[in-house]
């Protein structure tokens, strides 16, 4: 046997890392203050579940509502916040559910159980997305440098998919700033783009509340 002499210490142990971990954000974060105009940080390693189905189908909507104990946002570009996370409308037949990473299996299971026999799809996409929060008095100015969307139209409870530089992401209001949800592979580009766009205002790594 090839590995008969290998001891347990060299066993393969995968480590979960957020897409922005090379930037070492946790070590650089500080409490938000007036010294800088824009503050950002990643909310690493959330759970992301992709939900697809026909919103015209009453059985589908009520099954989702009862499984998650929410009202599915079927109106275009709308979203809801729940105690455990949020549900974003992405397209007429697609939603993105964000939750704590260790909750995702139970959400997926309860959705799959409730949607049995209904034409729909529930996929765990947690490896595919990440979220960055952007705050501070110049947060909108920074974002205006990056996207073509008119942010004055982005009221609370609304989520839009738009461009960010050469890429795309979803943006919605979060407390007194913005939440940017995008693909894991975009993380490096988007973070550097934010840093560069925030140069005139000052860019800080914000300390996030526990559980954010």
């Amino acid at each position: 046997m090839l590995n008969s002499t290998t001891n347990n210490t060299s066993e393969f142990k995968p480590v979960m890392q957020s897409p922005l971990h090379p930037f070492g954000l946790a070590a650089k974060q500080e409490k938000i203050n007036d010294s800088k105009g824009a503050w950002a940080n990643e909310i690493p390693l959330l759970g992301y579940i992709s939900l697809r189905g026909n919103s015209q189908n009453a059985a589908f909507v009520s099954a989702v509502n009862s499984a998650l104990n929410i009202t599915l946002p079927t109106q275009a570009c709308s979203m809801i916040n729940a105690a455990w996370g949020s549900i974003l409308w992405l397209s007429p037949d697609e939603w993105l559910i964000t939750c704590k990473r260790d909750q995702r299996a139970s959400f997926q299971q309860s959705l799959e159980a409730a949607l049995a026999g209904i034409h729909s799809q529930v996929v765990d996409n947690s490896g595919g997305y990440t979220t960055v929060l952007l705050k501070g008095k110049n947060a909108s100015d920074v974002l205006h440098h990056c996207t073509v969307y008119d942010l004055n139209m982005l009221q609370a409870g609304k989520v839009v998919g738009t461009t960010f530089g050469k890429l795309s992401l979803y943006v919605h209001q979060h407390e007194n700033g913005y939440s940017l949800v995008f693909r894991r592979s975009f993380a490096d580009y988007i973070w550097r783009y934010l840093e560069r766009s925030a140069l005139p205002y000052g860019f800080g790594i914000a300390q996030l509340n526990d559980g954010q």
Partner: protein, 99 residues
């Protein structure tokens, strides 16, 4: 720069969010296996290129990622409207019947 109202997002958005999808409602031959080379080639490559009104498909690539239909004047870039494929089909058929 166009401002296009996406019929799925119900909101006017910048052209940068969209991608062009070519002429709309190009009829696909019923049986590609038995279709002549010439007709199949026409279906694939020969698209209308009018000066004036043009029915075309656009995709909302960075938004809802759905395709829809737009009627645009290629000479002066006037956009009459944008509809989902099903809605536009009815208007298109009605206009074609008159023409």
């Amino acid at each position: 720069m166009f401002v296009i109202k996406c019929p799925h997002c119900f909101e006017a958005r910048e052209e940068e969010e969209f991608s062009y999808g070519g002429e709309a409602f190009v009829a696909r031959p019923e049986s590609p296996e038995t279709e002549s080379e010439e007709n199949w080639g026409d279906y694939l490559f020969m698209k209308r290129n009018p000066k004036g009104w043009h029915w075309e498909m656009w995709g909302h690539s960075t938004g809802c990622r759905k395709f829809f239909v737009l009627k645009r004047n290629t000479a002066n870039h006037t956009i009459v409207g944008a509809w989902t494929l099903a809605e536009a089909r009815k208007i298109y058929d009605a206009e074609e019947a008159i023409a």
